[in-house]
């Protein structure tokens, strides 16, 4: 167990290097960010050269990467286009996005598993088709549409919530964007749970549990659900990172100054420090989430052991 965790932690090192390099190359491939700083005007060559020099852009790519990595290890993530240190941006963006992710994740997990369980246990009945219709709706309508609709009706028309998230992103303001963000994933979770529950509800051990005379509640939660959760947990685990990075649209609609927003700004302005810095942290979160998922397998299914 302990060795397994250590091995996984060690594996993170090459992934970390691989990802940062890949992202670095990608941002580099986007082209020279200096031209855009001058707006609709052609850059003055002398000023542009000076800016390139200061951003270390006048060196070959591998050197730029080494320089950047060297800086990172001293805690310097470089500066955004506005001259603000990237670490400062991270300090404000990550807590906000983390809160949004927690809200969305809770909604997705609770509602998704709940709906899936309902549909799986009541296969072929009204509840089941209701869940299907709902998940279909969520998948087929793009996030920006649900986002704008909810914002307009709940926020503007009925005035039930703030249409835009206030400074500091209080949890009460995050429920609406959380619902929007959780939408598509919720559909996945519900369908996965339903399938899994349907399959396992005919398993021998469940039959045994029922035959033993265990109360239905215990049968469903301990025996059925626990064994049905593996694919769901896999999905949820990989989705944490997706929620954090994939909130670009939701964050934009609801005025959340989080990771997705900063990342998008970084991409638009082709600012390597912002993009690479944020993605690096995101990758670390992915890795941690994946490790957690693999450990959870062992919790959910005692037959799986890691050595």
């Amino acid at each position: 167990m302990g060795r397994y965790v250590i091995r996984r932690l060690l594996q993170m090192v090459p992934v970390f290097i691989g990802t940062t390099f890949l992202i670095f190359v990608m941002v580099y491939a986007l082209g020279d960010p200096v031209a855009a700083m001058f707006g609709d005007r052609a850059p003055d060559p002398a000023t542009a050269a000076q800016i390139r020099h200061d951003l270390y852009l006048d060196h070959p790519l591998p050197l730029q990467y080494l320089h950047y990595m060297g800086q990172i290890f001293t805690g310097n993530f470089g500066k955004a286009a506005t001259g603000q240190p990237v670490t400062e941006l991270m300090g404000t963006a990550f807590p906000v996005t983390l809160r949004l992710t927690i809200v969305a994740f809770a909604i997705e997990a609770i509602a998704g598993i709940g709906l899936g369980l309902l549909a799986g246990l009541r296969r072929g009945r009204f509840a089941d088709s209701g869940v299907l219709a709902f998940t279909l709706l969520v998948v087929a309508i793009p996030t920006f549409v649900t986002g704008y609709l909810l914002q307009y009706f709940v926020g503007v028309k009925w005035g039930l919530a703030n249409p835009a998230v206030a400074d500091g992103a209080p949890f009460s303001d995050l429920i609406l964007p959380g619902v929007v963000l959780a939408g598509v994933s919720l559909a996945y979770v519900a369908r996965l749970t339903r399938t899994s529950v349907a399959e396992n509800s005919r398993a021998d051990y469940l039959r045994t549990a029922v035959a033993k005379g265990l109360p239905r509640r215990r049968v469903v939660t301990v025996h059925l659900l626990r064994n049905s959760l593996i694919p769901v947990v896999t999905f949820l685990g990989t989705d944490i990172g997706g929620l954090m990075a994939g909130a670009v649209v939701t964050e934009r609609i609801f005025n959340i100054h989080g990771v997705g927003y900063q990342l998008y700004q970084g991409i638009l302005r082709q600012n390597p420090p912002t993009v690479v810095g944020f993605v690096t942290i995101l990758v670390l979160i992915f890795l941690a989430a994946n490790l957690l998922v693999d450990l959870l397998y062992a919790v959910l299914d005692p037959r799986i052991r890691y050595a």
Binding site: T19, M26, R123, L137, V139, F144, A203, F286
Partner: protein, 310 residues
């Protein structure tokens, strides 16, 4: 042990038990292979036929859109901008004054092909790599899982803007390739998880003890049991790929004009939702029907493949 006594289709995607209980006499027929079993099972499900019909229809329309639409999707008259339905134009007009009906029909080609190619590619690549990782474990697993971590780490936005602008793409092929490139880790993770579970099952252990080789174990024993979650995710993913194509077009790196696709129209319509909801309704409706058809088909196929449910 797989439970062979139950004959009812358990995982029907829709409420009706229209499939009805399978005649017990069927069980006594001579042993069939997994696939012919599956086909036998499928052939008696109305839902399978309905969804298959819808998909065949979509494919036909994608190949010959002029069968049901006589107009030109690029013939647009700005003076008719956002007008509602009129005779000959049952779905009304979009912002540019193009006929929405014609565009929905012509949009099927790009959208359905992007959806199908991407899903197919992602499923094959993802379940192959994920399955191998889950089955062999050890170094295989470590390397493949870490590679998929790296791909997970790349934000779709960044990947899309960079990949598609660097290769100057904009065709169905390049967009699908991009989606496969960034989409496979999702299926791979799911497949890996499913294979890890299936691998531990008694019947697999039994088969192994009986001397079954890797290929036989994987194909005959593990794959059918691990396929269910993969199919579920893949069929939903098909819909998200079609919408993702919309987002990519919206960002200016997806299908390039004069391509016509539901995605392009949905992203254009979504901004106008307060002004002209009909612009959104029809392409989004077509997308929903397509996704529904594939989800139903996926459910039916999965049930048919699952020996436990027979």
């Amino acid at each position: 042990m797989p439970d062979m006594t139950d004959s009812q289709s358990l995982v029907d995607a829709v409420p009706t038990t229209a499939a009805g209980p399978v005649d017990p006499s069927q069980q006594r027929e001579k042993a069939r292979s997994l696939w012919s079993d599956a086909w036998h099972d499928l052939s008696r499900k109305p839902l399978f036929y309905i969804s298959a019909l819808v998909i065949v229809f979509l494919v036909v329309i994608a190949i010959w859109p002029s069968l049901i639409a006589s107009g030109d999707p690029l013939a647009c008259d700005l003076s008719k901008s956002q007008m509602g339905p009129t005779s000959g134009h049952p779905f009304g007009f979009d912002t540019q004054g193009c006929d929405v009906y014609t565009r929905v029909v012509y949009g099927a080609r790009a959208s359905v092909s992007v959806g199908m190619f991407s899903t197919l590619g992602v499923t094959v690549l993802g379940s192959l790599l994920g399955g191998l990782a889950g089955y062999f474990g050890g170094w295989w697993d470590a390397i493949l899982s870490r590679i998929s971590d790296i791909f997970f780490g790349i934000p779709i936005l960044l990947g899309g803007v960079v990949f598609l602008s660097v290769i100057k793409g904009g065709s169905v092929t390049t967009v699908s390739l991009f989606m496969i490139l960034l989409g496979w880790p999702q299926i791979a993770r799911i497949a890996r998880g499913a294979v890890i579970t299936a691998k531990q099952q008694d019947y697999v252990q039994a088969a192994r003890a009986l001397g079954a080789g890797h290929t036989r174990l994987m194909l005959r024993h593990i794959a059918p049991n691990a396929l269910a979650p993969v199919i579920v995710v893949a069929t939903i993913a098909l819909g998200t790929y079609i919408s993702l194509e919309a987002t990519l077009s919206y960002l200016g790196v997806g299908l390039k004009p004069p391509a016509v696709s539901w995605g392009i129209d949905i992203s254009a319509a979504s901004e106008q939702i307060n002004n002209a909801p009909h612009m959104l309704l029809w392409p989004a409706g077509a997308l929903s029907v397509t996704v529904l058809a594939f989800i139903l088909l996926g459910d039916a196929v999965r049930d048919a493949l699952d020996p436990k449910l027979r």
